[in-house]
Symmetry: C2
Subunit: 297 residues, 2 copies
DNA sequence: TCGCCTGATAGAGGAAACCTATCAAACAAC
DNA sequence: GTTGTTTGATAGGTTTCCTCTATCAGGCGA
């Protein structure tokens, strides 16, 4: 039964019988039969079928909700038992927004010190994807903005507060300033994240709020790409202060506070709001609370 | 997998492999194998075995908690689907304390008017059993005191407030009074519920509080038995006002308010605190809120 | 010591789950 | 209009695992 529910989750994720079957490690006929059997035992059609996958019926959507819950609980049970058997062990799947990637180490390092048998998988994702994957049980926890866009069925643990810096060469325009305004920053050609990233939307909003019309000269979904451009001294960007700090900017690159307004956004850990959580996630939440203490400004 | 978890729940309920197997409709070797397989896939012993069932291991207790949750969710899923298919239908399993039994009709009657395809099973149970069966998914909802002893993992919806009456013949001692005190009531030979009932404990506490030492001349776990004795006019009892009213006392039997203090206890519907609830239970909760309005004093 | 109760074990029959191979419908490209 | 491709359903065969009956072994009380 539970494996059939897993089939359904995979189908919702992949929107495709064949790929869902692959994801479950079975063949397509097996997955088809599993879904069909589920429909038979429940007595309703779950999937709209034409010549191809056409989404779920309304009953299917409801069953999907339950399936998420049941599958998640079953996994938690297994995990809790292994934790009871030989301490915290296993794999913790995380996803973080690009601007928070460099801060993940502040969380994983003390966690690993406490629980050396836990392995990590960390994916770079935009904020919507983080929440989506959390919903779909594809990750155990995420790191994203917690004070801006709605979180849905997730619980947030604030980690640190993000302030913004104009990162540019001391020799470039504005490079000699102790602080710049958003209006001034809007005049500089910038490297920014792509618009699917919340950080980009935040910065655009701030620039527009100061009367600017941001037309970035370069955009990417990779922080490493932006950072390497800035390091040449020929490009400028706006990034969170902690990120610039964590990446270690060297002369002549400077990170100049941007004021008027001095914008602040909170980044935090998000975990499923479900109770009780798995031991791995519970430990991560505990660690996040500790880390938040040390990162307080 | 889920059927194996059901095996585990049955085992917890029956404390006996053979009876648990019966309850699940399988043979004893099948249930044994199921539990063993569960132990194997989880990699821990769940049950302490000697020559007979000796309870669960600590890991077993944890797994049991998850099993309750998962099995309950799976049932809820099935029920929700049938509700989507052809409206509210199925069986609602209730348990009520004896003093509330006569009030159950106030809940089931309007419920049935709204949802004619729902059938009921109502068991008379003491308050501890009500909560225990709620925990173990043996009932969908209970009716018991909600303001006195701890409810555990249950959610309460108050239904009505219980006040106490001395029920006795007009010709018996105190039978002519407009009201009596608890101290006076303690002087009369009484028919009361057995001490496992919370109502008995409440009344004993009140009698003792007034300096009395209750030694009931007759005790039973059946309200019908107590009531039929009182109807002869030869016996007296203390019962909730609404109960006396619902049962319809005729001359010369009178229900005399007991004062000093005018004790009040709240009786309500209790349902699993789990969210979301099944559609049948959700409808029952809605009905309970409506009924509580009409019963307000 | 003898039943009796309880749960484990063995072996057989049957159901189901899964796989490979193939098919039919829809759709796009030419 | 034809052809190729994609997608999910279907058929048939193998294997796995599930459940049953029958039996066994250890405790426990009489």
């Amino acid at each position: 039964m539970i494996d059939k529910l897993e089939f359904l989750l995979a189908l919702a994720r992949e929107q495709h019988f064949g790929r869902a079957a692959d994801a479950c490690g079975v063949t397509q006929p097996t997955l088809s039969a599993g879904v069909k059997q589920l429909e038979q035992t429940l007595g309703v059609l779950l999937v709209n079928r034409g010549s191809r996958f056409q989404g779920f019926t309304s009953e299917g959507e409801r069953v999907l909700e339950w399936a998420r819950r049941i599958v998640s609980d079953a996994r938690s049970m297994r995990q809790e038992v292994t934790a009871l058997k030989r301490g915290l062990a296993g794999r913790l799947r995380l996803a973080a927004i690009p601007t928070a990637l460099a801060m993940v180490a502040a969380l994983t390092t003390p966690y690993r010190a406490r629980h050396p048998n836990v392995r990590f998988t960390v994916m770079s994702r935009n904020s919507l994807e983080v929440l989506g994957q959390l919903e779909n049980l594809e990750i155990d926890a995420g790191i994203t903005y917690v004070d801006n866009e709605p979180l849905g069925r997730a619980r947030a643990i604030p980690l640190y507060r993000e302030r913004y810096r104009l990162v540019t060469s001391a020799r470039a325009p504005l490079g000699d300033r102790a602080s710049v305004t958003w209006a001034e920053a809007a005049q500089v050609p910038l490297c920014l994240l792509t618009p699917d990233m919340q950080n980009r939307r935040i910065i655009e909003r701030l620039l527009r709020g100061a009367g600017g019309d941001p037309q970035p000269t370069l955009e990417s979904n990779s922080m490493i790409l932006l950072f390497s451009h800035v390091r040449t001294g020929q490009w400028a960007s706006i990034m969170p202060a902690r990120l610039a700090q964590a990446l270690g900017l060297a002369e002549p690159i400077r990170a100049i506070p941007i004021v008027e307004p001095e914008a602040v956004h909170t980044v935090g850990l998000v975990v499923p709001s479900r109770e009780p959580t798995t031991p791995l996630v519970a430990a991560l939440v505990a660690e996040a609370r500790r880390v938040a203490q040390t990162l307080e400004d």
